[in-house]
């Protein structure tokens, strides 16, 4: 190997549940879709957004409700290294009308309802042009 392969797109994933989080990270890497940086808490996600190089996309668990919205608002106001208009996917077990409106106002590109298939999440990246075309 020459090491000349193009690096995978960087994605931040905040997901509290260990098995889901680790499986997404491994599958995305093994299939050549994305290099995912994982956070198990919203606070950890904020640290990564503030200190890491830019992420091409962000996936946020909505279990933490208002704090997730706050973090997303900070992203949209350009407070982090990532682009303010970076694509954001929200994953949520339940979502009320008020939350749906909040997320729409913050330009969330997709809301995936739990339980969802990991392939569905990866397809959001592929179909949204976040990552180069990959046959899944």
């Amino acid at each position: 190997m020459t090491g000349s392969a193009k690096p995978l797109p960087r994605v931040l994933l905040f997901e509290q549940h260990f098995v889901m989080r680790r499986t997404i990270v491994t599958v995305a890497r093994d299939l050549g879709v994305a290099e995912i940086q994982e956070a198990s808490t919203i606070d950890r996600a904020r640290v990564l957004l503030a200190t890491s190089a830019a992420f091409e996309a962000v996936v946020l668990d909505f279990d933490d409700g208002a704090r997730t919205v706050d973090l997303l608002g900070e992203l949209r106001h350009g407070k982090f290294n990532s682009r303010a208009d970076a694509p954001v996917v929200v994953i949520a077990a339940e979502l009320g009308r008020k939350e749906e409106d909040q997320l729409a106002a913050l330009a969330v590109c997709e809301v995936l309802r739990k339980p969802f298939k990991i392939g569905d999440l990866l397809n959001v990246f592929v179909n949204g042009g976040v990552v180069p075309p990959v046959r899944l």
């Binding site: 680790r22 599958v27 890491s52 298939k117 990991i118 392939g119 990866l122």
Partner: protein, 168 residues
């Protein structure tokens, strides 16, 4: 029916399995949550963490199956542990190795099997994380990758590693 083969490293493999002190122990959430997730992601009615002992396979975690063990000679997992690769049987009723296997012809009505060998910390293959369906199936690339990833989580649990975030 082709009985489950005996791997070349059987004695060392069994020793590694015994040293884990897992056989005939109570359910453990670390394995149960992986099995639930495997069944959910792959849409399978049965998912197991199976440990292949000398004469039997015993299920450390099981979803969708009442039996706690089966004899080793009829086990699909006994075939799976011969190689480190994913072992997939898309339609057991059409496979000469399994067509007259009691797991296929009996009440379980097994048709599809996919097993990812799991390793003791020593590296010996001691069993599988497997999924089973009662109808013929094929696995897509994402489903195969999910099963491989979950096998890694089982291996981490076998090694006693905690749930940790990957370092940046």
């Amino acid at each position: 029916m082709t009985p489950a083969p005996i791997p070349a490293d059987e004695a060392e493999r069994l020793q590694a399995l015994q040293q884990l002190l897992l056989l005939d122990t109570p359910p453990d959430e670390r394995y149960d949550r992986v099995v639930r997730f495997a069944a959910e992601q792959l849409d399978m009615p049965v998912a197991l963490v199976s440990l292949v002992d000398g004469r039997r396979q015993w299920f450390k975690s099981r979803l969708g199956l009442d039996a706690t063990e089966t004899s080793r000679d009829i086990s699909f997992c006994g075939h799976a542990i011969v190689s480190s690769e994913l072992f997939v049987v898309e339609d057991a009723s059409l496979d000469p190795r399994f067509a007259d296997n009691p797991l296929v012809t009996g009440d379980l009505h097994l048709r599809f099997y996919a097993g990812a060998p799991i390793n003791a910390p020593s590296g010996h293959r001691i069993g599988t994380l497997c999924v089973i369906d009662k109808v013929p199936r094929k696995l897509g690339a994402v489903e195969r990758a999910v099963l491989e990833a979950l096998r890694g989580l089982v291996n981490e649990a076998l090694a006693g590693r905690d749930d940790a975030e990957a370092a940046p």
